[in-house]
Symmetry: C2
Subunit: 417 residues, 2 copies
């Protein structure tokens, strides 16, 4: 263990916002106030406006005296209260971050975010070490994609998964009422966890089923396609055709990041999608993939001289990540992760990435705790759905349902006639 440092603390939020990222922010603030601020080691608790971008510009919010009731209201508000950023700092940018830390006498650096943000945290930590500037850097996990390694799951995912579950539950009832082929595109560029959560919408969970005849009888999405399983267009059409022929309807969950067997995004392939600021094909904030898949189904399933089937696509878009009503497990864990980072700092830990660890076994009442790993263990790595969660075709396994079910909270019970 090292000595405790004296100076100020700064907290930032980065990447796509979530419904509970402010819980983590407030968790760090209250943890610091009860710990390092109380003990006199931290004088001011600062927030970066729009992540490291605000830090370099000196755009800081002072949390040191913020009333507790205001903090509670911030914690319960979705999206990043400090503002977020997608900046990936290069060497010059990192130097400006370090200059800002020196200027504001920052000795504790907390960064709440996903893969890219954990990498920013790691780089800041390394630059500071190289410059022999003592800085304790902590990464607090956050991502609806659930794709951070070393974590059982990531704060933000349970609430987004809850929203996706509710959306599929409701939309399946809609599809029963006015039958047709309905396809919903869910967020997730590389990891399919959020799309897979659609399986929680099923009244009778047909986890593990691969037989199309059995899948046709599923309540909820009958077909689930995630980026981890190579997407074959002909196979997809055959799946849809088989279920539609049996039931006169078909309900489908598709991840925005589905890829072919060469790893090429179907979105980019079908539609030559727009590129975002990182040169990635823009997947969210556009209905193009859903529309193209719907068009494809319509074209391929129209009998010669016959009427095309009713096909509709919805792209869930940004609503998935910031819906005001969260999973209570998620709100709790996001707060806990923030507090844990502050607690480690008060214990003179040199830094690291906070993790969420499941402490209950399958079948037991759900329980979790926080852990810590080295920044480099998490930074810029992507966790994909493990094989045991996927049938390898178009469905999830019972193991995935066991994993995800406790996270999303109580669901409404629907009745059928």
């Amino acid at each position: 263990m090292a000595e405790l440092l004296r100076g100020n603390a700064v907290i930032g939020q980065s990447g796509g916002p979530t419904a509970v990222i402010n819980q983590s922010l407030v968790g760090v603030v209250e943890g610091l106030r009860a710990g390092l601020h109380q003990s006199g080691h931290v004088s001011r608790i600062l927030g970066m406006r729009h992540g490291v971008r605000g830090l370099t510009k000196g755009e800081l919010y002072d949390f040191t005296e913020t009333p507790a009731d205001k903090l509670e209201r911030v914690a319960a508000t979705p999206s990043a209260a400090l503002g977020s950023t997608r900046d990936k700092p290069d060497a010059g940018y990192c130097q400006r971050i370090l200059d800002a830390c020196r200027k504001h006498e920052i000795r504790y650096f907390f960064y709440i975010g996903g893969n890219d943000s954990s990498d920013t945290c790691r780089i800041v930590n390394e630059i500071a070490a190289a410059a022999k500037y003592e800085l304790r850097c902590f990464h607090v996990p956050k991502t609806i994609d659930n794709d951070l390694v070393e974590n059982d799951h990531c704060p933000g995912f349970p609430s987004a998964a809850r929203w996706v579950t509710l959306a599929f539950m409701a939309d399946f009832m809609d599809n029963l009422s006015l039958p047709g082929i309905k396809l919903n595109v869910v967020m997730g560029r590389n990891a399919g966890f959020l799309t897979a959560a659609s399986a929680l919408a099923r009244r009778r969970e047909h986890a593990g089923v691969t037989d199309l005849q059995a899948l046709a009888e599923v309540d909820g999405p009958q077909l689930i396609y995630v980026p981890e399983v190579p997407f074959d267009i002909d196979r997809f059409i055959a799946d849809v055709e088989s279920i539609y022929a049996r039931k006169g309807r078909c309900h489908i969950a598709v991840s925005e990041g589905i890829k072919d067997d060469k790893g090429e995004a179907i979105g980019g392939k079908l539609i030559g999608g727009q590129k975002d600021s990182h040169g990635n094909v823009q997947l969210s904030g556009s209905g193009a993939l859903g529309d193209q898949l719907a068009e494809l189904i319509k074209t391929r399933l129209t009998p010669a001289g016959g009427k095309p089937p009713r096909v509709r696509a919805d792209t869930f878009g940004y609503l998935q990540r910031c819906w005001p009503y969260t999973s209570s497990v998620d709100s709790h864990e996001a707060r806990m992760a923030g507090r844990h980072a502050a607690k480690l700092a008060a214990e003179a830990e040199r830094g690291g990435s906070i993790t969420i660890v499941r402490t209950s076994k399958s079948g037991q009442p759900y329980a979790s705790a926080c852990g810590r790993v080295a920044l480099a263990a998490v930074a810029a790595k992507t966790r994909l759905m493990p094989r045991e969660f996927l049938t390898g075709v178009n469905n999830v396994t019972a193991a995935f349902i066991d994993y995800a079910r406790p996270l999303v909270g109580d669901l409404p019970q629907f009745e059928r006639l």
Copy 2:
């Protein structure tokens, strides 16, 4: 007043489902059980599977003995439990409906739906009268579009408006956190009520403001475009440009049914959209309008040789109409409307369309009651937003906020730093 008839009753659900259409269904069932069934006039209470289509095929559900707790669970389930239909019966179809009524000895006909469904109800009523078959036909209102005449508002609208409000509240926080131009497409082919409900998302309600400088300061959608106001593309771009130049972000609500000054749908004009089964341009279940408007903004706002602004579009799609968590006012009124129809039937009323009447004045605690008008007064008519609800440009008035605010229920309070 006429005599009470003896026979069976049948109930149908028609058109796009809503989150509370089953409340109306259960309201009719329980109203009949406590009234005409209790008194021995109605023997069996039947439900049509998929509206008049199921009736003609003899696909009926018998509610006469359904346990009350099951009915309560059905009432709390979104979407049409009996199944819905978009069939618009022609003369031959109507004859088959009448034949089915004779066959099943139906004397009371209840149809829950919107404009088209009320017209079906009117036609069935007329065909029966022409055939001298005594049939009492009641229409129970339902539509998230809120476009039935003679109603203060329609069951289904308050819950959809609540969902849209929550979506804009959350999405605005998202937009503050990662600024850019964000456009959300809301359901509504002819009437803009649901899109206008986005204004309820504003923390400080800038109702009635038309000045762009003032609109730029609005929390929530800064610009609102509805079908009632001719959509001018150049004006739209100028609006967005002005707000984006001031704030570096812009949050926009657009109705799927926006039209130019000749009444031509912008969707059809920009994209040559798909036609649905009625020959209308398909607006829902496609992200095309949002994507095209986003592309238009990107193209027109990119400075020469400069970087395009970050523009994203979400199309809210089907989730608007069947979200499991409703407005409590809506659930209550939908149930009340169903009960009222059964009550009128028990009072030997010959038929009609149930209406929702607001009995409170502006500023008073909200209260409502049911009324009745002739079927022909409502059938196939479309109510648009009145002039007093619109600034005539890109905003709603304080009168609209007064009108809509009590319908959506309590909203979460967001905090800002």
